[in-house]
C-alpha cells in the first residue's frame, strides 16, 4: 500500500489544482500511467504513477488545489488485500503517509538549497487591501512585487503597476522569469558560435521528403534535434546536470525543445530518450510533443527531465541564439535561421545555405574546448545527414 502524493514538478511549484482524474477507484495502474491532470503555473500537466497497483482510494476531488506532498490517492499493490479488509476501522492517513516511499521522481532536485526563499514567501503574507488584492489578481500582478517593506499595498500601487506592465504576466512567464534570473545569477555562461553550411543537409532532406507523403515529411528542426542528440554521443559532457558542485552526466538524452506557445512565450519540454530514436521517430516524437505542448497536455516527466536545451529560433527570423541555460542543465544549443550566404570553399566563393549554431555552456561543468568540440562534431554530422536516418 502506498500513497500517491501531489508530485513536485519543480522547485518553484508549491501546489497545483487537480483538474481531472484519469483513473477511478479499483483501476489497475502501472508505472508511467497517466493518472491525473493537474494545473500548475506552467499549464496543465499530466501526472504519472510510479508503481504498479490498484487505485484503492481517491483522496482528493477534482478541481481541488493540493499542496505538493498532499496525498492524492492510495495505491495498493496487486498482491495486497484491500484496505477495507485490512483496516476495518478506516484509513489512517498519518500512518499511511509514514509508510510511503519517498516520492521517487527520478529527477535531480532543481535546487541544491532546500531552504530556497521560495518557501517563506507563502508564509510571509503580503499585506494589502482587499481591493488591491482583487485587482492585482485580475491583472495578473504578483502582489509581492509591489510590496515595500511592511507597508500594506493599496489600489493605487496596483493601478500604477498595471500601467507600467501592460501585458499581464502569466504564471508561466513568472516561472520562466524566476528560472532565468537564477540561471543568470548562478551559472557562469560561456558562448561559442559556428557557421554551418546546411546546403547538403537541406538538399538531402528535400530529396527524402519528395518521396514521402506530406504527413511523413521531416522538418529541418527534427533533423537538427537528431544531429544534436547524435553529437552528444561523441561529446557527452554537455548532457547532464550541475549539482553539489559536480557535473552529473545523464545516460538518457532528453533534449528540452523550446516550443513557442504562441503569445504565451516559450516552454521547453523534454523529448524523452531521444538517443534511442532514428530520424523518423525523432520527427514523430517532436510532432507529438509540439501538439501536446500547445494543447497543454504535457506529462510531468517531460517538464522535469530535460538534460540539455535546444532552442531553434530560425522560424522567428533570428540569426543567432545566445541562450540562457536552464539550471541545473549545463548547456543550451541554439540555432538561428538558415540564410543564403556567400561561402568560400577552397578558392571558390559561392552562395550557400548557412546557419549559425551556438552553444551556451556552464563554465563550472565544461570549458570552451568541450564546447568547440561539440560544435565541430555537430557540423561534421550535418554534412553527412544520411547517417542520421
Amino acid at each position: 500500500m502506498s500513497t500517491f502524493v501531489m508530485p513536485s514538478l519543480g522547485a518553484d511549484m508549491q501546489s497545483a489544482v487537480l483538474m481531472e482524474w484519469k483513473v477511478k477507484e479499483g483501476d489497475r495502474v502501472k508505472k508511467g500511467d497517466v493518472i491525473a491532470e493537474v494545473e500548475t503555473s506552467k499549464g496543465v500537466i499530466e501526472i504519472e504513477v510510479f508503481e504498479e497497483g490498484i487505485v484503492e482510494k481517491i483522496l482528493v476531488t477534482e478541481e481541488t488545489e493540493a499542496k505538493v506532498g498532499t496525498p492524492l490517492a492510495i495505491i495498493r499493490s496487486v498482491d495486497e488485500s484491500s484496505a477495507a479488509e485490512e483496516e476495518p476501522t478506516g484509513f489512517d492517513m498519518a500512518a499511511e503517509t509514514k509508510e510511503t516511499e519517498p516520492l521517487s521522481i527520478p529527477i535531480p532536485p532543481v535546487s541544491d538549497e532546500p531552504d530556497e526563499p521560495d518557501e517563506p514567501v507563502e508564509t510571509q503574507r503580503v499585506k494589502s487591501s482587499p481591493l488591491a488584492r482583487k485587482k492585482a489578481k485580475e491583472s495578473g500582478i504578483e502582489l509581492s512585487t509591489l510590496a515595500e517593506g511592511d507597508k500594506p499595498i493599496h489600489l493605487a500601487q496596483v493601478e500604477s503597476q498595471k500601467r507600467s506592465v501592460t501585458p499581464a504576466m502569466s504564471g508561466m512567464r513568472q516561472a520562466i522569469a524566476k528560472a532565468m534570473s537564477r540561471s543568470n545569477a548562478e551559472i557562469p555562461h560561456y558562448y561559442l558560435s559556428t557557421s554551418i553550411n546546411m546546403t547538403s543537409a537541406l538538399r538531402w532532406l528535400e530529396e527524402q521528403n519528395r518521396n514521402r507523403t506530406i504527413e511523413d515529411r521531416i522538418l529541418p528542426a527534427a533533423l537538427l534535434i537528431r544531429a544534436v542528440v547524435r553529437t552528444l554521443r561523441e561529446v557527452p559532457q554537455l548532457n547532464g546536470f550541475w549539482m553539489d558542485d559536480t557535473l552529473h552526466l545523464s545516460e538518457a538524452v532528453n533534449p528540452g525543445i523550446a516550443i513557442a506557445l504562441r503569445k504565451e512565450g516559450l516552454i521547453t519540454p523534454a523529448l524523452l530518450n531521444a538517443e534511442h530514436m532514428d530520424l523518423d521517430a525523432t520527427m514523430r516524437s517532436f510532432s507529438d510533443l509540439v501538439t501536446r505542448t500547445r494543447s497543454g497536455k504535457l506529462r510531468s516527466s517531460e517538464i522535469t527531465q530535460q538534460t540539455i536545451t535546444i532552442t531553434n529560433l530560425g522560424d522567428l527570423g533570428v540569426d543567432r541564439v545566445y541562450g540562457v541555460i536552464y539550471p541545473p542543465q549545463v548547456a543550451l544549443v541554439g540555432f538561428g535561421r538558415i540564410m543564403d550566404t556567400p561561402w568560400a570553399e577552397g578558392d571558390a566563393l559561392s552562395v550557400r545555405k548557412v546557419m549559425q549554431a551556438t552553444l551556451a555552456g556552464d563554465h563550472r561543468a565544461t570549458d570552451g574546448r568541450t564546447g568547440g568540440e561539440f560544435l565541430n562534431k555537430l557540423d561534421q554530422i550535418l554534412q553527412r545527414p544520411e547517417e542520421l536516418l
Binding site: E206, N209, E215, R217, L219, A221, R262, K263, V290, G314
Partner: protein, 83 residues
C-alpha cells in the same frame, strides 16, 4: 472548387492553428509565417490539413509559391485546374 471556396478553407485552417487570430488579422499579401508567427511545424500542419481538404500536396520545393494567402489561393486553383 472556386477560388473563394479555397480561400475560405485556407483561412479556416490557419485560424485552426492560430486560434487567437481573426480573419481580419490575415493580410492576404503578407508572408503567412512571419506575419502570423507560424513556425515551420505549424506551417506543415496547415499544408497537411489543406492537402486533406483540397487534395493538393505542396512539395517542399514549392514552399516559396505559397508564402502569402493570395499566392496560396492561386497555387491551389492552378493545381486543381491542372488535374
Amino acid at each position: 472548387m472556386s477560388a473563394e471556396e479555397i480561400k475560405e478553407i485556407i483561412i479556416r485552417e490557419i485560424l485552426e492553428i492560430a486560434p487567437e487570430m481573426t480573419e481580419g488579422d490575415i493580410d492576404p499579401d503578407a508572408h503567412i509565417q512571419r506575419s502570423l508567427e507560424i513556425d515551420s511545424f505549424d506551417f506543415l500542419r496547415i499544408l497537411t490539413a489543406l492537402n486533406k481538404a483540397i487534395g493538393v500536396e505542396v512539395p517542399e520545393a514549392d514552399y516559396g509559391k505559397v508564402d502569402t494567402l493570395n499566392h496560396m489561393v492561386d497555387y491551389f486553383v492552378t493545381h486543381l485546374e491542372k488535374r
